[in-house]
């Protein structure tokens, strides 16, 4: 009896702390448009140099075990109440910051802007010689640091000899996509150059696989270039990635804080843009989202001295795995998937995974393996477990899905154009496949919340009118005739009215009778907080459980300036 009582108390306490409560879903403060994480640093953070191999081992094994032993998190997950992102505002948005800049999701970019991506200077000058200043030893493909006649330094990355355009195409397309979404990405340029313009800096040495320093001679250069794809005319197609301005500080982690950066205020796994990155990674099959494909840069310019966070190296996106086409399981399982291995073991192999038996038939060679038929958004997995992705909530996913929905077919085509594929079928295949993956993503994640959006509240005569958009319908996920809405008005968790059927109409009017009730409430209000009311809209979609969204609004004493102050979605 005592034990039961103790258990009940503990469970109640656990539920009270980890499962319920939380901050108000609305806020009355005025906005502060200045990014809060770009204050000038007095002391530069130190460079991080985490172990690549240990990271892989840790994320594929120890982290998974630790995650399973995290009882409060397991409780939250079981009850569907994972912590919401710390940096999302009451509208579910995130401010521009050193991690993310709202671009296409907030105001649509033109086709030219989408194709151009982050590129600002037109690439290296191919009319003069390039001097190799350093041999790139990281990564699976060979590369060099070259300086052009203008003094700009670029990292050259190539296609594998047997797969022309594979890695360079993927890098260019994904650079444009991730830039348009809002992430900080390098200026990657597609260059086609005659290798005779390459010269070697005097005394240049490179590190061999065994860690020895050896002279970088023309013979070494020829040997390296012998392993990369060439065009029929002997020229080489490559990515020229402009060195990021500032001091490199090593990769960021998808978990925790950079302790020596006072601007780093939010644990990374609780940043909406890092959680939502999973959606964009699903879209582009950017499975290689390990820490080492990110880079922190200490910016020190007129905007201040702070750390800016970049995503780098998109050579393993779409159908490319950098040095070869993507293996069929990549994007569908971890590089070592303990869970799938254990299930296979336990079921004696009777459990069949979706990717098994998949073949890249009919896919243009320069694309690699990239498909949309067996792609399943919730089943998508990166190279290794990622804390931010694991903590993604339906609200995070909805935030990302809304941005993704802004990419029309023409927008996607504009991004794919950056890849400059010589085979038009490759471009068309990518556009079609990306579009199909986008639709699958929207279909799944829109079903996890009530995807009403674009709320507008206005005074119309004696009434207040709330209008809204329905992303599920407007983004082509489902037909309008399969949706009905109903709404009610209330304050806090209480309701003042009965459910009012709206049918397919996306408008609700608060008439004078209810306004009168609101007015009475305002008269007896003790603070501004008592002048916040809400409209709860529940949508019934074909075959899906109904979900609601609450729109919180503030009314002043004269009922003249309605202001939406927050949105809450049932998840």
């Amino acid at each position: 009896m005592k034990r039961s009582l103790l258990s009940a108390i503990l469970l109640t306490a656990l539920a009270a702390v980890v499962g319920c409560g939380g901050p108000r879903p609305w806020n009355l403060n005025e906005p502060d448009v200045h990014p809060t994480d770009q204050d000038t640093l007095e002391k530069a953070p130190k460079e991080r140099d985490p172990s690549l191999y240990w990271d892989a081992v840790n994320q594929s094994s120890f982290y998974l075990v630790e995650r399973s032993l995290d009882l409060p998190r397991q409780y939250r997950k079981l009850t569907g109440q994972l912590k919401e992102a710390y940096n999302a505002d009451c509208f579910g948005e995130i401010p521009d910051c050193s991690w993310f800049t709202n671009r296409h999701g907030r105001s649509r970019l033109t086709a030219a802007e989408l194709t151009r991506g982050p590129r600002t200077i037109g690439g290296p000058d191919t009319s003069e010689t390039w001097t190799i200043t350093r041999a790139k030893t990281e990564g699976v493909t060979p590369g060099f640091f070259v300086k052009d006649a203008r003094g700009e330094t670029f990292v050259l990355k190539f296609d594998p000899i047997a797969h022309p355009e594979l890695a360079t195409g993927a890098e260019m397309v994904s650079t444009s996509i991730f830039h348009a979404i809002g992430y900080n990405v390098p200026e990657n340029y597609l260059v086609i150059f005659d290798p005779s313009i390459l010269t070697i800096k005097d005394g240049l040495q490179f590190k061999t696989r065994r860690g020895e320093q050896e002279p970088f001679t023309p013979e070494v250069l020829a040997r390296v270039l012998g392993k990369v794809a060439r065009r029929p005319d002997g020229r080489i197609r490559a990515i020229a990635s402009r060195l990021l301005p500032g001091k490199p500080l090593g990769p960021f982690s998808y978990h925790g804080l950079r302790k020596d950066d006072p601007n780093d205020l939010i644990p990374h796994q609780h940043r909406r843009e890092l959680r939502g990155l999973k959606i964009f990674a699903e879209f582009t099959n950017h499975f290689d989202t390990k820490d080492h494909n990110s880079l922190d840069i200490l910016v020190d310019d007129s905007t201040g001295r702070y750390v800016r966070h970049y995503l780098i190296d998109f050579g393993s996106t779409l159908g490319s795995d950098g040095d070869e086409p993507k293996a069929v399981y990549k994007g569908y399982a971890y590089v070592f998937d303990l869970e799938q291995a254990l299930v296979s073991l336990g079921t004696l192999g009777l459990r069949q995974w979706s990717w098994e038996g998949a073949k890249p038939d009919g896919i243009p060679a320069s694309v690699g393996y990239f498909e949309s038929d067996i792609f399943d958004p919730p089943g998508w997995k990166p190279l290794q477990a990622n804390q931010a992705f694991d903590d993604m909530t339906h609200n995070d996913a909805f935030w990302a899905a809304r941005i993704l929905a802004q990419f029309s077919e023409d927008d996607i085509r504009a991004c794919v154009a950056a890849g400059e594929y010589s085979d038009p079928a490759a471009s068309e295949y990518l556009v079609r496949t990306l579009r199909e993956r986008q639709q699958k993503i929207l279909g799944y994640y829109y079903s996890k919340v009530n995807p009403l959006d674009d709320f507008r509240l206005s005074r119309t005569g004696e009434n207040l009118t709330l209008t809204f958009a329905d992303r599920w319908v407007d983004d082509g996920v489902g037909p309008a005739d399969r949706v009905t809405h109903r709404a009610r008005i209330g304050q806090g968790k209480g309701s003042w009215t009965e459910w009012r059927d709206l049918g397919r109409e996306r408008k609700i009017t608060i008439d004078s009778e209810v306004l009168s009730q609101i007015s009475d409430a305002i008269k007896s209000a003790r603070s501004d907080y008592d002048q916040v009311f809400n409209i709860q809209i529940e949508s019934h979609r074909d075959g899906a459980p109904p979900r609601w969204v609450r729109v919180y609004f503030y009314l002043d004493d004269a009922l003249e300036s309605p202001r939406i102050v927050g949105i809450e979605r049932e998840t």
Partner: protein, 420 residues
């Protein structure tokens, strides 16, 4: 997208964070949550400790380029190199040694290898190998090998299918050997081998060795008549021919195809007391693999070995066919059964756990016979069953862990190289 309100200030129009006053640094948990998470933290301590212990060597190797340095010291990539030999087995004990291999001594494909090792239970061996399976990249090869071997505690359980594990005994021997082998690569997957060799074997009763035995000496348990070859030095001259056909689709974890090995040899010689030795041995080892679907496969194996002595000659007991161990009847001790002939059947179900990692379940059925042709019947076969995990590569390298249950014991195996 986002929020746009009629007649409302910039806040809502921009959708900016209305809470974006610089907040305090956030942590993952608040104080109460930390208290509630204490059991989890306690559970995670051993995981963290293990992780720290594992991370240290990984980081050391990565940071200090330890592996490339070792490779530089011990290996000469272009022509072979010096390699350590290390291992452990319940019979030999802890083993250590060195091997040196030079791939191209007199030309491409003509190599020279020298190796030697020593174990805590006084097992030791040394050998010199010269030649190559494919000289000068041709279809022909030649290999000559000379060496010496010493063993101290070889198991023996008696002759015949009804021998008992309770009668376990041991013996030792020293052997010197030399052989010359010719290879003919008829076509990819088909190889013929001819071999001529000589061996001098000098057996010893198990109790004569200076290591501490837990087993009875062979001469205490078995009559001298069963132990021909134990008390005298034996010289053996062997001539053999072997054909091997390998048509597996991927040697590390075959889904289709199989291997067929047919070997015939004749051994002649004499013992120190002038007893003639002369016998034929024929062996057929057939494996076949059938892909059920998507990497799930059935493998079957049949092994038969027949020893036929010439009239008036005898076969030393340690030259008889033996059954038991990792590649011949798992679930039983090594060399558990001894007789002139043997038959072994295996069926194995394999399925992929991950890229290049399989699990498997198997059953082995095997028996020794005094005369396979006359005595064969399906009764009295010894069975074992078990399963395991196998990590493999496409060139045929495998690391296998398995557990097998026989009627007498449960055996664990950790092998480089698959059972079949």
């Amino acid at each position: 997208m986002g929020i746009a309100l009629d007649g409302v200030p910039a806040c809502a129009e921009t959708g900016r964070d209305t809470t974006a006053v610089r907040p305090p640094r956030r942590t993952d948990r608040n104080a109460i949550e930390y208290v509630l998470a204490l059991p989890s933290i306690a559970l995670k301590i051993p995981v963290r400790v293990t992780a720290t212990l594992v991370s240290a060597p990984i980081i050391i190797v990565e940071r200090n380029t330890l592996l490339p340095t070792l490779e530089r010291w011990f290996s000469f990539v272009d022509f072979g190199g010096l390699q350590p030999i290390a291992g452990y087995g319940s019979t030999p004990g802890l083993e250590g040694g060195l091997s040196y291999h030079h791939r191209h001594v007199f030309g491409r494909g003509i190599g020279l290898g020298v190796q030697g090792s020593y174990s805590t239970n006084l097992y030791r061996q040394g050998s010199v190998r010269f030649g190559g399976k494919q000289w000068l990249d041709s279809r022909y090869g030649f290999m000559a090998e000379f060496g010496w071997q010493g063993a101290t505690r070889e198991r023996f359980y008696g002759i015949g299918a009804s021998s008992s594990i309770d009668n376990e005994s041991n013996y030792g021997f020293e052997g010197r050997f030399g052989s010359a082998t010719g290879f003919w690569h008829v076509r990819p997957g088909l190889e013929a081998t001819v071999k001529a060799g000589l061996r001098r074997i000098d057996p010893e009763d198990g109790r004569l060795r200076r290591i501490e035995y837990q087993l009875d000496s062979i001469s205490l348990l078995y009559p001298d008549d069963d132990l021909f070859g134990l008390f005298e030095t034996v010289d053996l001259y062997e001539f053999g021919f072997e054909v091997r056909h390998d048509w597996r689709d991927r040697p590390g974890s075959p889904l289709r195809g199989g291997t067929e090995l047919i070997a015939v040899s004749y051994v002649t010689g004499s013992s120190q007391d002038d007893t003639d030795i002369g016998y034929w041995r024929a062996k057929a080892d057939l494996s076949h693999y059938l892909n059920l679907y998507r990497g799930r496969a059935i493998g079957v194996r049949t092994l038969a070995e027949v020893t036929e002595p010439d009239d008036g000659t005898r076969v030393p007991f340690y030259e008889l066919s033996r059954l038991g161990g990792g590649s011949r009847l798992r679930g039983y001790r090594s060399d558990r059964f001894t007789d002139r002939d043997l038959a072994l059947f295996t069926i194995e179900y394999r399925w992929p756990l991950w890229q290049r990692m399989d699990a498997f379940l198997f059953t082995d059925q095997g028996r020794v016979f005094a005369n396979l042709e006359k005595d064969f019947e399906f009764s009295n076969f010894r069975s074992s069953y078990g399963g395991g995990l196998r990590v493999w590569n496409t060139s045929g390298g495998t690391v296998e862990f398995s557990i097998a249950q026989g009627a007498e014991t449960t055996r664990f195996y950790f092998d480089f190289g698959a059972a079949f």
